[in-house]
């Protein structure tokens, strides 16, 4: 009896250990994310009319420890944030027959550029709570949720206008079909329906952008959970002639003004020399 009981006990124990062993391996089920940018410097030169960057990445599933792994539905969310700025938003009102700016609201430390690019709608990717905590979505990057709640109705209206105008300028973007997984090819080189773990997304910078450091955050999601994330940076700067002029205007405005005058006088004199009537 005793031998039988101890045998049973050891059986249960080893089963438990085995179960824990399996579980521990299932816990080790892991994905890692590696990303890169096509460029880390965007130069505003005299021919700049906007720029395009690519985010590349691949997620890797460490599968060898996994047992009974179900294929998950992976979602990539790319968030690009530009340097922050104080924005002054003005609202027109009617006075007499004419319309002019009557009220003003200032929004401090708002990113001048926001692009939220994903392979699926954010709402289908994760729940609202997580989205708020991780700043997923254009709205949340403009104003965090806890500040939005405290906002007056009037200020909210100004904020919405600021977002709308930013979208028109191409500074604020949210595209839920902008991250593409590359298709797997079969041996004959034909694409199959299946997606690989390799993805890419385009970042479109408009003609009017602020100079400074832009951050690119990439998150890998499955089943509503953030599995891994990466962060990268690129720099937008004026170079060459444009940079020289801006520095000149800002640091030596007197000499810039005098130079403008000399330029004007020179061309005026030149024209009178060329077209002299004698």
């Amino acid at each position: 009896m005793r031998a039988c009981a101890s045998f049973l006990w050891s059986l249960i124990r080893s089963a438990l250990v085995a179960a824990m062993w399996v579980m521990s391996f299932t816990m080790a089920y892991a994905e890692t994310l590696v990303t890169s940018l096509s460029s880390r410097e965007v130069e505003i030169t005299s021919t700049y009319t906007g720029a395009k960057l690519k985010v590349y990445g691949v997620y890797e599933i460490i599968e060898k420890y996994v047992r009974n792994a179900q294929p998950k539905d992976y979602v990539i969310v790319v968030t690009v944030l530009g340097p922050t700025h104080h924005f002054t938003v003005r609202q027109k009102g009617k006075v007499g027959p004419a319309w002019f700016n009557r009220s003003t609201q200032v929004f401090k430390d708002v990113p001048s550029f926001v692009a939220v690019l994903s392979s699926k709608p954010i709402a289908e990717t994760t729940n609202l709570e997580t989205a708020r905590n991780l700043f997923l979505g254009l709205d949340l990057n403009i104003t965090p949720n806890h500040l939005l709640i405290e906002m007056s109705e009037k200020r909210k209206e100004f904020r919405e206008a600021m977002i709308r105008l930013g979208q028109q300028e191409g500074r604020y973007q949210q595209d839920e079909n902008a991250v593409f997984f590359m298709k797997i090819k079969d041996k004959k080189g034909k694409t199959t329906g299946a997606s690989s773990s390799l993805f890419e997304a385009n970042i479109q910078l408009p003609a009017t952008v602020m100079t400074g450091t832009y951050t690119v955050q990439v998150g890998l999601f499955a089943e509503g959970v953030l599995l891994d994330k990466s962060i990268d940076y690129f720099e937008v700067k004026k170079t060459g002639f444009e940079a020289t002029i801006v520095n000149w205007v800002q640091d030596h405005s007197w000499s810039y003004g005098v130079a403008m005058c000399l330029m004007a006088l020179f061309f005026g004199w030149l024209a009178s020399m060329i077209f002299r009537r004698d």
Binding site: T45, G93, W99, S253, M263, F267
Partner: protein, 326 residues
């Protein structure tokens, strides 16, 4: 809207006659790309008109730049070196012909410079308050409305005089009302005896308007000197160009230092287009009948004024705007 159609057609016309390649150039201060050829052509076209009629053309160029979405602050400030360039040519010509009364010019300059300095300070404060665009638009509606209407009346008068085969009336004799004012002074070179008070008020106003609106003011100053102060036309042109040159030099430097809105590339394009356009305009003016052109110019001026009035009074599609990022 009619004025809108006229303007957009004018720009389209410019584009088509020059078969303009779309070479975009990024303006470092305005922070936006523009079509190089369009701006140079615009400068040349306005320069041509100003050469034809002997006025500066700032009152046309600044609104056209604003209609091309260049920030009003940049358009107005960058206009200053452009006007300085074109008046340099005129002042040099007057100097060679010994038509320049330095005493009268110098006195006009005192009022002009004071007006410029105050105008630029007002400009800065309006910009800070977010009312600069409105102020510029309102001043253009008023000024261009009046000037355009006067030009139309002038055209009508010439037309009627021709029809009746009567000689066109000479300058309307205005009573010399300022002869009774104190501070009379004799300007030897031009042989004028004038009170300094209305002269000062006039030059101050021109300097002020120049700084706020991006105009030289020749189209007000020259007729005023001719009709009110009875100066000869060569004196009036020389002296007003002299005042405009120096007030615009000061305006350029002050806009650069205080408002930092003078764009070197935009200025260069406008100057190159403008100085050459003006020369061709002057030549054309000697050969062409200017009456029909005068009517066209009057209509153009009125349509710019109407366009600004329309923008001010129509219910806007977008009630909100973001202040210039700077």
């Amino acid at each position: 809207v009619l004025s809108d159609v006229v303007l957009s057609n004018a720009i389209l016309f410019l584009k088509s006659i020059l078969v303009m390649p779309d070479l975009q150039v990024y303006l470092p201060i305005a922070d936006m790309p523009v079509n190089l050829f369009l701006i140079v052509a615009l400068g040349a076209a306005v320069g041509f008109l100003s050469g034809l009629f002997g006025v500066g053309g700032g009152f046309l160029l600044t609104p056209l730049l604003i209609l091309l979405n260049i920030p009003p602050a940049v358009a107005v400030a960058t206009q200053a070196p452009q006007i300085a360039a074109s008046s340099t040519t005129s002042v040099l010509a007057a100097w060679r012909n010994r038509a320049l009364d330095l005493q009268l010019g110098g006195f006009l300059l005192i009022g002009g410079l004071m007006g410029t300095v105050i105008g630029i300070l007002v400009f800065r404060n309006l910009k800070r308050l977010g009312q600069l665009d409105l102020a510029i638009a309102l001043s253009y509606v008023t000024l261009l409305g009046i000037v355009g209407a006067l030009m139309l009346v002038d055209c009508w008068r010439i037309y009627r005089a021709k029809k009746r085969t009567e000689p066109a009336q000479a300058i309307i004799a205005t009573p010399v009302w300022h002869a009774a004012l104190p501070l009379q002074y004799t300007f030897v070179h031009s042989g004028l005896r004038l009170s300094l008070i209305p002269l000062f008020i006039l030059s101050f106003f021109i300097g002020f308007a120049g700084a706020v609106m991006g105009i030289g003011g020749g189209f007000i100053l020259i007729p005023a000197l001719l009709y009110f102060f009875r100066a000869s036309s060569s004196t009036a042109i020389a002296v007003s160009q002299f005042q405009i040159l120096f007030t615009m030099i000061v305006a350029t430097i002050m806009h650069a230092v205080i408002n930092q809105t003078v764009d070197i590339l935009l200025a260069l394009m406008l100057i190159v287009g403008g100085v050459f356009g003006a020369q061709f305009g002057t030549r054309a003016g000697r050969n062409l009948k200017t009456e029909s052109f005068k009517l066209l110019l009057a209509l153009l001026v009125l349509s710019v004024s109407l366009r600004f009035a329309f923008d001010l009074t129509i219910t806007p599609k977008e009630f909100f705007s973001i202040a210039e990022r700077r």
